[in-house]
């Protein structure tokens, strides 16, 4: 299997699929990087991880690719308390208006081989990855399943370890 550094080089400028947990990190970091380690959904990340994520997304270039199923998860998971709850919704709206959504029907995705084990959201990730799109995720099980299927998926934690910078 190709390592993270190889996949980063291979997909430079081709866009990237950002998985739900990292998408949440992106949103929270854009609103207030200080909240990353306080917010329950992002507390396993740091401000440096947010900077690394934004650097990686810039490296892969437009568009950021996702699915309506993942966006729905991200919307539900970015429930920041206080005034920043409304601000993150505005950031989410602005981001959604610039990304590329790939759509597969739920009827189609429930027949995907990953659906039974991973559910609809991750099946939608796999379906897009099958179109030669690299996936960036912090979910080890999903990354291994994608790689085992012959697809290009990068474990964000491997990139953290690399100390990778553009």
């Amino acid at each position: 299997m190709a390592d993270a550094a190889t996949l980063i080089k291979k997909h430079q400028g081709k866009g990237v699929f950002v998985d739900a947990n990292l998408f949440v990190l992106l949103m929270v970091g854009q609103v207030n990087p200080k909240r990353i380690q306080e917010f329950k959904r992002t507390q396993s990340f740091t401000e440096d991880d947010f900077k690394l994520l934004t650097t990686l997304i810039a490296w892969f270039g437009a568009p950021v690719i996702t699915t309506p199923h993942v966006l729905s998860q991200v919307s539900d998971l970015t429930d920041l308390s206080g005034p920043e709850g409304k601000i993150i919704r505005r950031h989410f709206k602005a981001t959604v208006e610039t990304i590329q959504e790939k759509y597969d029907t739920a009827r189609s995705l429930v027949n995907h081989r990953l659906f039974e084990r991973f559910g609809l959201g991750d099946a939608s990730v796999a379906a897009v990855c099958e179109r030669n799109v690299v996936v960036l995720t912090a979910d080890l099980q999903l990354q291994i399943a994608l790689v085992a299927s012959g697809l290009d998926a990068i474990n964000f934690n491997h990139v953290r370890s690399l100390g990778w910078r553009v």
């Binding site: 080890l140 291994i144 085992a148 934690n157």
Partner: protein, 92 residues
């Protein structure tokens, strides 16, 4: 990752790599579940058998790597437990 190298030794933590960090709770205590992977020594019979099984597709994951989950207290940083993590590929 220093805690893994301290507890397992250099020989069993070759090419150690961070794989995943999850937030959880054990007995009401907030913990981190930290998955690390490493390359066990090639002369380890159990490792050789595992690598053979992975080659045949029965275990999946990154062939040759051994995955371990460390449960670490968020409050104290203490390592509460360590276990092998087996990762399966789709269809298993």
């Amino acid at each position: 990752m220093a805690f893994a190298q301290d507890s397992l030794g250099e020989k069993r933590t070759a090419d150690i790599r961070l794989e995943e960090i999850e937030s959880s709770a054990v007995d009401g205590r907030p913990v981190w579940l930290i998955t690390l992977s490493s390359l066990p020594p090639l002369d380890d019979t159990a490792f050789t058998m595992r690598r053979l099984a992975q080659t045949m597709g029965s275990l999946g994951a990154d062939a040759g790597r051994e995955y371990k989950v460390f449960t670490v207290s968020k409050e104290t940083g203490e390592i509460l437990s360590m276990r092998i993590r087996l990762l399966a590929t789709p269809g298993q």
